[in-house]
């Protein structure tokens, strides 16, 4: 505001001054100054240099302190000075450079006479009120912003400015007023832009600071307190800091200073933590189908807006700053925010809190764009272990939780998969596919074969339930358009198309025999082309093609998996920074405990039939494991599960459950270490041995693959998290204590024991364990009678066992339950699977899309799941008469939903809806469904979606047959 005023005045002055003889100006200036000096000296009783200033700044020359002791300065004199000064400033501002860059005469005078410093002292002598500060700040702001010659090079200008700045910064005890702060930040901002334009000034700033004692980059230090400020002041400060950051990229001194002498990075990172703590721990879920924080959601949460501002600022700093600052900041964010704040938040005790944190994490990952920062977040998810479980595994395990948490977790994974990050994909899926154990040996050579004749597409489409067959019920509003296809290849060039509703731009279909064609399929093809193309472009930087030969399956056999995992490629897609930073901070040990509790997530019945130990890492961690859990362990589990089933909403009980699971886990370790050592497989121990020596990781981490020391680790990890855990003694007492605990808790629960636990190794970890036993009920009820006995763990554990990983199996098991899922869960599921299917890596592509591939009997394929869904739907439609009408109505509802979403969210919000569907109704605005199918008729919606999903998959398969084979166009 003040700035505006100044501008106005200045404009007027310019008109007056232009063309005025410089000598005249000089004379006027001197006269004014003489008047000012008169007043100044009149009130300066001590004419000698005292050299002491209130703030303790060494102040040379010009004046002394103590004016206040000599009475108030009369107002008229003060305003007279101000008037003169104003005029003088205008004269100074308007003065041109002298010849060959020399000072103009007025500036020279100012420098000689130390005008500015004396004015500053004068303002100190009067009561140094906020008004005074404002006046001075505005004065400099005007001078710096509008002077025609460089002023800051001159110490007599710079020094009082620095003194002013430091006196305005306000002490913790007496913070400056908001107005002063705003003006101060504005001036600092201005100074920063001068710095970026004229780096030579930078030196001076440093030197001036040196005069005051420490090498101190005052401008920078002054800005730091405003980093996390909300509103325009904060924004201005951040902008100014960014200017300095950009400067640091080229100037080592600045970079070094910021990295070594300031608290910039810690302040930024801990500020994130602080702001995070003020975020709501529970979100009001606006609607049932809510699954992630959209722009309009977080805009309404001021605390979240503020957090995101700071996060975006970090992002920007990392983008422009010197690598040393970037690395430091990234390290602090990992160690100061992600690990100490976000990790525990992801493990809060209620579903709502965990759900909220998951939604935040998803949002953060979507907001962050800078590779180094994204890398940090991903490293955190992939590598960090909380309570001995990798964050990723915990997150995967939550996909199968009921309520919103599962949905929000799905949304998070949709985000993660959409990053095209090699490491993410490797950990989630590819590492399970690389050994090629999921397919018959003979199939390895056809892995890279492509589907020349769209056989797979045809097989997918052939799964279309008869009740949805396009011949029987044409989809409403986008009916099968009859396109006329030519019979003759030559001659008949009369080109028309019958229905102009779709694709009016194509008028080239040749008339001939007539055929009905599902035109919506064209949209799927087009979308598939785009999505595969995007994916292929992004994956070009991947370290390997994942085609069954590279990485070589032999090296990723479970026996060697540990080693292979260690040498796995670093995150390559999008994220380019090296992992140094993370290595410093987070435990990068990936494989020793890479996938604890993976087994529990495998819900497939088919898997249950598998008699072998599926996960080598599991085995490693757990050490030798009994074939059949002893009776008392089974009993324990049953009770514990019962507890969890009945109580996970109650916070307190939840906590108990966690404790129970911890106990179970510890007990298991005990058992396996002590009693069952004899039954260990030679292969297993060999593996352990061979894994150890090559480990170059930090010794405590490595030792965790050792049975005995694991107990300690667990205890160690447990200590900070929950005090009562650490109190649990080791050894025989444990059992007794545990049973006491169970007894006391069991009384509270009344739900029947029910479980799908499969492996005796599974209760290795409390976190995953806990989550994994919250399955969808239908899953559970499939085999209520045999909660534990379903998996006969025979002795062939050392062998490679087909297992496609927890992520795939949890996705497929949720997909299998499609008819009972709500619409939005199904949209997410099919969206994720479609995105996965778009990946060009032959391993993934063949697993998901090649319907001719022969897999191991124990491996469930996407096609099998879809086929079983088709059967379910066929049965359903056979038994319910109203099914066809409901289907049509549901199609109407879905179309209406899409068009309304599109209207309200604009074209960019495709992520909320099924991508291809978004296009399908482009030309059908404002559809009103006639009959609303209630959303609890999930099977109806699921059937519609199922049919569309088949088309989507078929389209992707078809596009793969073409795109994946071609070298990418530049």
């Amino acid at each position: 505001m003040a700035f505006m005023v100044a501008n106005g005045n200045q404009g007027g002055q310019t008109l007056v001054l232009r063309g005025v003889d410089p000598e005249t100006c000089m004379i006027v200036f001197k006269n004014h100054w003489a008047q000012v000096v008169k007043i100044l000296e009149k009130h300066d009783p001590v004419r000698s240099n005292v050299g002491i200033l209130g703030g303790g700044h060494g102040l040379g020359g010009g004046g002394g302190l103590g004016g206040l002791r000599f009475g108030k300065i009369p107002g008229d004199e003060a305003s007279a000075v101000q008037n003169y000064v104003e005029h003088m400033l205008f004269l100074l501002m308007e003065e041109e450079c002298g010849q060959s860059g020399a000072m103009g005469p007025i500036l020279e005078f100012v420098v000689m006479e130390n005008v500015l410093e004396r004015l500053f002292v004068w303002s100190l002598r009067r009561e140094f009120t906020d008004e005074m500060k404002l006046e001075q700040l505005k004065m400099y702001e005007m001078l710096i912003g509008q002077a025609r010659q460089p002023l800051l090079h001159h110490k007599p200008v710079l020094k009082p400015l620095m003194m002013l700045l430091s006196s305005c910064s306000g002490s913790p005890s007496r913070p400056s007023s908001g107005v002063v702060e705003a003006e101060l930040v504005l001036l600092l901002n201005q100074l920063c832009s001068v710095l970026t334009k004229d780096p030579s000034v930078l030196e001076l700033f440093f030197h001036t600071s040196e005069d005051q004692g420490a090498a101190n980059f005052l401008i920078f230090s002054l800005l730091i307190p405003f980093i996390h400020r909300e509103g325009s002041v904060g924004q201005q400060a951040r902008d100014a800091l960014l200017l300095i950051m950009a400067l640091s990229a080229e100037n080592h001194v600045v970079a070094k200073h910021i990295a070594e002498n300031t608290y910039f990075c810690p302040v930024l990172a801990t500020g994130l933590s602080g702001l995070y703590s003020s975020l709501p721990t529970k979100l009001d879920v606006p609607s049932e189908d809510w699954h992630c924080l959209h722009h309009e959601d977080w805009q309404q949460l001021p605390s979240l807006v503020q957090f995101l501002n700071s996060l975006e600022f970090c992002n920007a700093v990392i983008q422009v700053a010197h690598p040393s600052i970037r690395d430091q900041l990234v390290g602090y964010i990992h160690n100061g925010f992600l690990v100490p704040v976000l990790a525990p938040a992801l493990h809060k005790l209620t579903l709502e809190e965990v759900m909220t944190t998951t939604a935040y994490l998803d949002l953060f990952i979507r907001i962050v764009s800078e590779p180094a920062l994204l890398h940090t977040f991903l490293s955190f998810i992939l590598l960090h272990r909380h309570d001995n479980v990798h964050i990723l595994d915990t997150l995967v395990s939550r996909i199968n939780t009921p309520f919103q948490l599962g949905t929000v977790s799905l949304a998070l994974f949709r985000t993660l998969i959409g990053l095209y990050c090699e490491d993410v994909m490797l950990q989630l899926i590819l590492k399970y596919l690389i050994p090629c154990n999921h397919m018959m040996l003979s199939q390895r050579r056809v892995l890279r074969e492509r589907d020349c004749y769209s056989v797979s597409a045809a097989k997918f489409l052939a799964l279309t339930p008869s009740c949805c067959s396009p011949e029987i019920i044409p989809p409403p509003l986008r009916q099968l358009d009859s396109i006329l296809w030519s019979k003759g290849t030559d001659g008949s060039q009369t080109t028309t198309k019958e229905s102009e509703q779709v694709l009016p731009e194509d008028d080239d279909c040749v008339i001939g025999s007539e055929i009905y064609l599902d035109v919506s399929y064209l949209h799927y093809l087009s979308d598939a082309e785009n999505s595969i193309g995007n994916c292929m472009r992004a994956c070009r930087v991947w370290s390997a093609p994942y085609d069954g030969e590279n990485p070589p399956p032999e090296e990723y056999q479970p026996s060697t998996l540990e080693e292979a995992g260690r040498t796995r490629p670093q995150i390559t897609s999008k994220t380019t920074q090296t992992q140094n930073q993370v290595h410093q901070s987070g435990p990068p040990v990936r494989d020793l405990n890479a996938a604890p509790g993976l087994l529990e997530l495998e819900w497939d019945d088919s898997y249950d039939a598998c008699p072998t130990q599926p996960h080598p890492e599991e085995g490693q961690e757990a050490g030798p494991i009994p074939d059949e859990p002893p009776q008392h362990i089974q009993e324990m589990r049953r009770t514990a599960i019962m507890l969890v089933k009945g109580s996970y909403i109650e916070e307190a009980e939840f906590q108990n459950d966690v404790m129970v699971y911890d106990l179970v886990a510890q007990k298991d370790v005990q058992d396996s270490n002590n009693s069952y050592h004899a039954s260990s497989k030679p292969a297993e121990s060999e593996q352990l041995e061979s894994g150890e020596p090559t480990s170059n990781q930090n010794p405590t981490e490595s030792s965790m693959s050792n049975g005995p020391s694991m107990e300690d680790c667990k205890k160690k990890e447990g200590e900070p998290a929950q005090s009562d855990r650490s109190a649990i003694p080791e050894g025989e007492d444990l059992m007794a204590q545990y049973e006491d605990l169970i007894r006391s808790l069991a009384a509270q629960s009344s739900s029947p024991a029910n479980s799908e636990l499969k492996s005796p190794t599974e209760v290795m970890d409390d976190e995953v364990e806990f989550n994994s036993i919250l399955p969808e009920t239908p899953e559970l009820e499939r085999m209520p009678s045999s909660p534990f006995g379903t998996k006969p763990c025979s002795g062939s554990r050392g062998n490679a066992v087909p297992f496609t990983g927890p992520f795939v199996s949890v996705l497929l098991s949720r997909l299998e339950n499609m008819l009972n899922n709500t619409l939005h869960v199904n949209l997410l599921l099919t969206g994720i699977l479609a995105q996965l299917a778009a990946y060009p890596q032959p391993l993934l592509r063949s697993f998901l899309l090649n319907t001719n591939m022969v897999f191991q009997p124990s491996v469930r394929s996407l096609y099998q799941v879809l086929a079983s869904l088709k059967n379910q739907i066929e049965q359903l439609s056979a038994t319910r008469k109203d099914f066809p009408e409901l289907l049509t109505a549901a199609q109407h509802c879905l179309l209406a939903r899409e068009s309304s979403l599109r209207d309200s969210q604009g074209p960019k919000m495709g992520d909320r809806i099924h991508g291809p569907e978004a296009d399908k109704t482009k030309k059908n605005p404002a559809i009103q469904p006639k009959v609303i199918v209630p959303s609890n008729r999930t099977e109806v919606y699921a059937t519609v979606l199922f049919t569309e999903f088949l088309k989507e998959l078929a389209a992707i398969a078809q596009e793969h047959s073409i795109l994946s084979q071609l070298p990418m166009e530049e």
Partner: protein
């Protein structure tokens, strides 16, 4: 005899390789291959209606091993596109093809013969693919101008492809093999069961006269080079005389590309 291709695609490849070596010098002199895929791959159906004609609904439904005639055309379209990408991958020497704009079942092509009896011949041709592809007969190859050759019908210009592909086998036979075959006949002349008995007899009995006839035929073909394409199709291959204003830039790009590679 008539099983040139049914032996195995490898044999065919080997032969062409050895030929390749024979004519390498020449080949180097020929302009660098343009980025084939870029130029010729028709935009894979953006929102385009597939430019194909349908197999009759009944057959396509059958071949699609399902019930959905609606998708039959898509399968056909993509099978042909896949074939086309295979052609591109093969980088057949001196052969350029491009599917018609109007139908994916019709491809326009041109063969440059760089040595041998037919040296300097530039033969335009059209490939017709049966609409029940890949379960039907083998594709037909018809030269725009009937070349004087024992295996080329002197009236229709059709090449005797069937002798090499007695039975078209999906997954084994591919269109690039047909194109390769169309090139091979100009280097290895076969006079058994000719479509042009005159040429066959001359080749066996009076090679000099045969050569003269071939030279005349090559001249005739080349004299029609700048004719309008027989088919009025946007993607038909047409030649135009050298025009620096139009071609110089493209040529420079090609050579620059070659150097950089």
């Amino acid at each position: 005899m008539n099983t040139f291709w049914s032996m195995s695609s490898n044999v065919g490849l080997k032969r062409s390789d050895s030929e390749e070596q024979g004519g390498q010098g020449e080949q180097r002199a020929s302009p660098a291959r343009p980025p084939f895929g870029k130029k010729q791959l028709p935009s894979i159906p953006k929102n385009a209606v597939p430019i194909t004609k349908a197999a009759s609904p009944a057959t396509s439904a059958q071949s699609a091993n399902g019930t959905h005639a609606s998708y039959g055309p898509f399968y056909l379209e993509y099978s042909l596109l896949a074939e086309f990408t295979l052609v591109i991958k093969q980088k057949l020497p001196g052969i350029y093809v491009q599917p018609s704009y109007r139908s994916a079942l019709m491809w326009f092509g041109v063969i440059f013969i760089r040595h041998g009896l037919y040296q300097d011949g530039v033969f335009k041709f059209t490939v017709y693919i049966p609409d029940n592809y890949p379960d039907g007969d083998c594709p037909r190859v018809v030269f725009d101008t009937p070349v004087f050759h024992p295996l080329v019908d002197p009236d229709s210009g059709e090449l005797d492809v069937k002798r090499a592909f007695t039975k078209w086998r999906r997954n084994h036979n591919h269109i690039w093999q047909v194109l390769m075959y169309a090139r091979t006949i100009f280097y290895k002349i076969n006079t058994m069961d000719p479509l042009n008995p005159e040429a066959a007899v001359l080749y066996d009995r009076d090679i000099q006269l045969f050569k003269r006839k071939v030279i005349d035929s090559v001249k005739l073909c080349n004299s029609h080079l700048f004719d309008q394409p027989k088919m009025d199709d946007p993607y038909a291959i047409s030649f135009s005389p050298w025009n620096p204003a139009v071609h110089e830039e493209a040529k420079e790009k090609m050579f620059a590309h070659k150097v950089s590679v």
